[in-house]
Protein backbone atom coordinates (compact mmCIF):
# COMPACT_ATOMS: atom_id res chain seq x y z
CA UNK A 1 0.00 0.00 0.00
CA UNK A 2 1.48 3.31 -1.09
CA UNK A 3 1.41 6.45 1.06
CA UNK A 4 -1.08 8.03 -1.31
CA UNK A 5 -3.40 5.01 -1.00
CA UNK A 6 -3.18 5.11 2.76
CA UNK A 7 -3.89 8.83 2.81
CA UNK A 8 -6.83 8.33 0.46
CA UNK A 9 -8.16 5.65 2.81
CA UNK A 10 -7.84 8.00 5.77
CA UNK A 11 -9.65 10.75 3.90
CA UNK A 12 -12.67 8.54 3.32
CA UNK A 13 -13.29 9.14 7.02
CA UNK A 14 -12.91 11.95 9.48
CA UNK A 15 -12.92 12.26 13.25
CA UNK A 16 -16.43 12.36 14.65
CA UNK A 17 -18.11 15.64 15.59
CA UNK A 18 -18.60 16.67 19.20
CA UNK A 19 -21.92 15.79 20.79
CA UNK A 20 -24.62 18.44 20.52
CA UNK A 21 -24.72 18.89 24.28
CA UNK A 22 -21.11 20.00 24.56
CA UNK A 23 -21.77 23.62 23.67
CA UNK A 24 -24.54 23.78 26.22
CA UNK A 25 -22.31 22.17 28.84
CA UNK A 26 -19.76 24.90 28.25
CA UNK A 27 -21.96 27.97 28.01
CA UNK A 28 -25.11 27.02 29.91
CA UNK A 29 -24.09 24.62 32.64
CA UNK A 30 -26.93 23.46 34.88
CA UNK A 31 -27.65 25.79 37.78
CA UNK A 32 -25.35 25.16 40.66
CA UNK A 33 -22.90 23.54 38.33
CA UNK A 34 -19.54 25.17 38.30
CA UNK A 35 -17.39 24.58 35.27
CA UNK A 36 -15.62 21.32 35.78
CA UNK A 37 -12.33 22.11 37.42
CA UNK A 38 -9.07 20.77 36.24
CA UNK A 39 -8.45 17.37 37.62
CA UNK A 40 -5.07 18.40 38.78
CA UNK A 41 -4.76 18.37 42.54
CA UNK A 42 -2.11 19.87 44.74
CA UNK A 43 -1.66 17.53 47.68
CA UNK A 44 1.83 18.85 48.27
CA UNK A 45 0.45 22.38 48.66
CA UNK A 46 -2.08 21.21 51.22
CA UNK A 47 0.63 19.28 53.05
CA UNK A 48 2.94 22.29 53.00
CA UNK A 49 0.20 24.54 54.38
CA UNK A 50 -0.54 22.06 57.15
CA UNK A 51 3.14 21.75 57.96
CA UNK A 52 3.50 25.52 58.07
CA UNK A 53 0.52 25.83 60.41
CA UNK A 54 1.92 23.16 62.72
CA UNK A 55 5.35 24.80 62.70
CA UNK A 56 3.93 28.21 63.52
CA UNK A 57 1.77 26.72 66.25
CA UNK A 58 4.65 24.86 67.84
CA UNK A 59 6.84 27.92 67.61
CA UNK A 60 4.22 30.04 69.35
CA UNK A 61 3.84 27.36 72.00
CA UNK A 62 7.58 27.20 72.59
CA UNK A 63 7.73 30.97 72.95
CA UNK A 64 4.89 30.91 75.46
CA UNK A 65 6.70 28.37 77.62
CA UNK A 66 10.17 29.64 76.88
CA UNK A 67 12.69 29.61 79.73
CA UNK A 68 13.66 33.08 78.61
CA UNK A 69 10.25 34.41 79.60
CA UNK A 70 11.13 37.51 81.61
CA UNK A 71 8.21 37.48 84.01
CA UNK A 72 9.81 34.95 86.35
CA UNK A 73 13.00 35.69 88.23
CA UNK A 74 14.27 32.42 89.51
CA UNK A 75 15.08 31.90 93.13
CA UNK A 76 18.73 30.98 92.79
CA UNK A 77 18.96 29.29 96.16
CA UNK A 78 15.97 27.12 95.42
CA UNK A 79 17.36 26.24 92.01
CA UNK A 80 20.65 25.19 93.52
CA UNK A 81 18.92 23.16 96.19
CA UNK A 82 16.77 21.31 93.66
CA UNK A 83 19.74 20.77 91.38
CA UNK A 84 21.66 19.22 94.24
CA UNK A 85 18.75 16.92 94.96
CA UNK A 86 18.46 15.85 91.32
CA UNK A 87 22.13 15.47 90.58
CA UNK A 88 23.59 14.49 87.22
CA UNK A 89 24.75 16.45 84.17
CA UNK A 90 21.42 18.18 83.39
CA UNK A 91 20.46 18.82 86.96
CA UNK A 92 20.75 22.60 86.65
CA UNK A 93 18.49 22.81 83.60
CA UNK A 94 15.89 20.51 85.10
CA UNK A 95 16.02 22.38 88.38
CA UNK A 96 15.44 25.72 86.64
CA UNK A 97 12.40 24.26 84.92
CA UNK A 98 10.97 22.86 88.16
CA UNK A 99 11.57 26.05 90.12
CA UNK A 100 10.08 28.15 87.33
CA UNK A 101 6.92 26.05 87.40
CA UNK A 102 6.78 26.29 91.19
CA UNK A 103 7.18 30.06 91.17
CA UNK A 104 4.55 30.48 88.49
CA UNK A 105 2.15 28.30 90.45
CA UNK A 106 2.86 30.34 93.57
CA UNK A 107 2.33 33.59 91.66
CA UNK A 108 -0.93 32.34 90.24
CA UNK A 109 -2.11 31.26 93.69
CA UNK A 110 -1.17 34.62 95.15
CA UNK A 111 -3.03 36.42 92.40
CA UNK A 112 -6.07 34.23 92.98
CA UNK A 113 -6.05 35.07 96.70
CA UNK A 114 -5.76 38.78 95.97
CA UNK A 115 -8.64 38.60 93.53
CA UNK A 116 -10.74 36.73 96.08
CA UNK A 117 -9.97 39.30 98.78
CA UNK A 118 -10.92 42.18 96.52
CA UNK A 119 -14.15 40.45 95.63
CA UNK A 120 -15.02 39.88 99.32
CA UNK A 121 -14.50 43.54 100.21
CA UNK A 122 -16.80 44.61 97.43
CA UNK A 123 -17.45 48.20 96.36
CA UNK A 124 -17.87 50.79 99.09
Amino acid sequence: MQDSELEALLKKYRPVDPPHGLEQRIFDPPSGHVARPERRTWPWAVAAAALLAITVGLHALSIASSPARPDVILDEQRVQAVANEIGGPNARVRAEYIVRQEQRADADAMQARLDAANTDQGPR
Binding site: M1, K12, E23
Partner: protein, 164 residues
Protein backbone atom coordinates in the same frame (compact mmCIF):
# COMPACT_ATOMS: atom_id res chain seq x y z
CA UNK B 1 -20.27 47.62 33.52
CA UNK B 2 -18.85 44.32 34.72
CA UNK B 3 -21.91 42.37 33.57
CA UNK B 4 -21.77 44.03 30.17
CA UNK B 5 -18.13 43.08 29.80
CA UNK B 6 -18.92 39.58 30.95
CA UNK B 7 -21.70 39.33 28.39
CA UNK B 8 -19.40 40.57 25.64
CA UNK B 9 -16.79 38.01 26.62
CA UNK B 10 -19.31 35.18 26.60
CA UNK B 11 -20.64 36.22 23.20
CA UNK B 12 -17.12 36.41 21.80
CA UNK B 13 -16.13 33.02 23.18
CA UNK B 14 -19.40 31.50 22.01
CA UNK B 15 -18.64 32.78 18.52
CA UNK B 16 -15.19 31.25 18.69
CA UNK B 17 -16.74 27.96 19.78
CA UNK B 18 -19.20 27.93 16.90
CA UNK B 19 -16.36 28.62 14.51
CA UNK B 20 -13.67 26.36 15.97
CA UNK B 21 -15.22 24.18 18.68
CA UNK B 22 -15.88 21.09 16.55
CA UNK B 23 -12.44 21.37 14.98
CA UNK B 24 -10.81 21.61 18.41
CA UNK B 25 -12.86 18.67 19.64
CA UNK B 26 -11.71 16.52 16.72
CA UNK B 27 -8.12 17.55 17.42
CA UNK B 28 -8.43 16.54 21.07
CA UNK B 29 -10.14 13.33 20.03
CA UNK B 30 -7.30 12.34 17.74
CA UNK B 31 -4.72 12.95 20.45
CA UNK B 32 -6.67 11.18 23.17
CA UNK B 33 -8.57 8.58 21.12
CA UNK B 34 -11.39 8.88 23.62
CA UNK B 35 -14.57 10.87 23.10
CA UNK B 36 -15.34 11.51 26.74
CA UNK B 37 -11.85 12.77 27.44
CA UNK B 38 -11.96 14.97 24.33
CA UNK B 39 -15.21 16.52 25.59
CA UNK B 40 -13.66 17.14 28.99
CA UNK B 41 -10.61 18.79 27.50
CA UNK B 42 -12.58 21.12 25.23
CA UNK B 43 -14.95 22.01 28.02
CA UNK B 44 -12.05 22.66 30.35
CA UNK B 45 -10.31 24.95 27.87
CA UNK B 46 -13.39 27.03 27.09
CA UNK B 47 -14.43 27.17 30.73
CA UNK B 48 -10.96 28.40 31.59
CA UNK B 49 -11.19 31.19 29.01
CA UNK B 50 -14.66 32.14 30.27
CA UNK B 51 -13.52 32.26 33.88
CA UNK B 52 -10.69 34.70 33.28
CA UNK B 53 -11.44 38.28 34.33
CA UNK B 54 -10.17 39.48 30.96
CA UNK B 55 -9.80 37.64 27.72
CA UNK B 56 -6.22 36.68 26.94
CA UNK B 57 -4.70 38.33 23.91
CA UNK B 58 -5.66 36.14 21.00
CA UNK B 59 -4.49 37.34 17.62
CA UNK B 60 -5.66 34.01 16.24
CA UNK B 61 -8.23 32.54 18.65
CA UNK B 62 -8.28 29.16 16.94
CA UNK B 63 -4.50 28.81 17.11
CA UNK B 64 -4.51 29.99 20.72
CA UNK B 65 -7.19 27.49 21.69
CA UNK B 66 -5.58 24.72 19.67
CA UNK B 67 -2.45 25.13 21.77
CA UNK B 68 -4.56 25.18 24.94
CA UNK B 69 -6.37 22.02 23.85
CA UNK B 70 -3.08 20.35 23.00
CA UNK B 71 -1.59 21.20 26.40
CA UNK B 72 -4.70 20.02 28.22
CA UNK B 73 -4.85 16.81 26.19
CA UNK B 74 -1.24 15.84 26.86
CA UNK B 75 -1.61 16.83 30.48
CA UNK B 76 -4.58 14.48 30.69
CA UNK B 77 -2.62 11.72 28.97
CA UNK B 78 0.14 12.05 31.55
CA UNK B 79 -2.36 11.66 34.36
CA UNK B 80 -4.34 8.92 32.66
CA UNK B 81 -3.29 5.54 33.92
CA UNK B 82 -5.86 3.21 32.45
CA UNK B 83 -6.39 2.38 28.81
CA UNK B 84 -9.59 3.63 27.28
CA UNK B 85 -12.30 1.52 25.71
CA UNK B 86 -11.63 0.95 22.06
CA UNK B 87 -15.18 0.13 21.05
CA UNK B 88 -16.51 3.63 20.48
CA UNK B 89 -16.05 5.06 16.99
CA UNK B 90 -13.65 7.94 16.59
CA UNK B 91 -14.09 8.15 12.81
CA UNK B 92 -17.13 8.60 10.64
CA UNK B 93 -17.45 8.11 6.88
CA UNK B 94 -17.43 11.15 4.65
CA UNK B 95 -17.38 9.45 1.26
CA UNK B 96 -19.03 6.56 -0.47
CA UNK B 97 -17.53 3.12 -0.63
CA UNK B 98 -16.95 2.91 3.10
CA UNK B 99 -17.62 -0.23 5.05
CA UNK B 100 -17.97 -0.83 8.77
CA UNK B 101 -15.19 -3.39 8.64
CA UNK B 102 -12.84 -0.98 6.89
CA UNK B 103 -13.74 1.74 9.38
CA UNK B 104 -13.12 -0.55 12.33
CA UNK B 105 -9.76 -1.66 10.95
CA UNK B 106 -8.68 1.92 10.30
CA UNK B 107 -9.75 3.02 13.78
CA UNK B 108 -7.86 0.16 15.35
CA UNK B 109 -4.74 1.08 13.41
CA UNK B 110 -5.06 4.71 14.49
CA UNK B 111 -5.54 3.73 18.11
CA UNK B 112 -2.36 1.69 17.96
CA UNK B 113 -0.33 4.81 17.14
CA UNK B 114 1.29 6.90 19.86
CA UNK B 115 -0.65 10.14 20.48
CA UNK B 116 2.11 12.28 18.95
CA UNK B 117 1.90 10.35 15.69
CA UNK B 118 -1.90 10.40 15.63
CA UNK B 119 -1.70 14.14 16.18
CA UNK B 120 0.56 14.67 13.18
CA UNK B 121 -1.65 12.46 11.00
CA UNK B 122 -4.68 14.44 12.07
CA UNK B 123 -3.19 17.86 11.47
CA UNK B 124 -1.68 16.89 8.12
CA UNK B 125 -4.45 14.71 6.70
CA UNK B 126 -7.62 16.08 8.27
CA UNK B 127 -6.65 19.69 8.93
CA UNK B 128 -4.68 19.95 5.69
CA UNK B 129 -1.66 21.53 7.33
CA UNK B 130 1.78 21.39 5.81
CA UNK B 131 4.57 19.88 7.88
CA UNK B 132 5.86 23.38 8.52
CA UNK B 133 2.44 24.47 9.81
CA UNK B 134 2.23 21.36 11.97
CA UNK B 135 5.69 22.12 13.33
CA UNK B 136 4.61 25.66 14.21
CA UNK B 137 1.39 24.46 15.83
CA UNK B 138 3.06 21.78 17.92
CA UNK B 139 6.33 23.52 18.68
CA UNK B 140 8.31 20.65 17.20
CA UNK B 141 10.92 20.79 14.47
CA UNK B 142 9.81 20.07 10.94
CA UNK B 143 12.12 17.05 10.89
CA UNK B 144 10.43 15.63 13.96
CA UNK B 145 7.02 16.20 12.42
CA UNK B 146 8.00 14.56 9.14
CA UNK B 147 9.53 11.62 10.97
CA UNK B 148 6.43 11.13 13.08
CA UNK B 149 4.29 11.14 9.98
CA UNK B 150 6.59 8.64 8.31
CA UNK B 151 6.55 6.32 11.33
CA UNK B 152 2.79 6.65 11.58
CA UNK B 153 2.18 5.66 7.98
CA UNK B 154 4.64 2.78 8.16
CA UNK B 155 3.07 1.48 11.32
CA UNK B 156 -0.46 1.85 10.02
CA UNK B 157 0.50 0.10 6.82
CA UNK B 158 1.86 -2.86 8.76
CA UNK B 159 -1.14 -2.96 11.05
CA UNK B 160 -3.60 -2.72 8.19
CA UNK B 161 -1.78 -5.48 6.30
CA UNK B 162 -1.70 -7.75 9.32
CA UNK B 163 -5.34 -7.07 10.19
CA UNK B 164 -6.47 -7.55 6.62
Amino acid sequence: MGEAADGDRRRFVAGVYRQSGPQLYRYALMILADRGDAEDVVQQVFASVLSKPALPKMLDPTAYLRTAVRNAAYSLLRRRRTARAADEPILEPVAGGCSPVEQAVLQRALRELPPEQREVVHLHVYEGMTFQEVATATGESINTVAARYRYALDRMRKLLTSIS
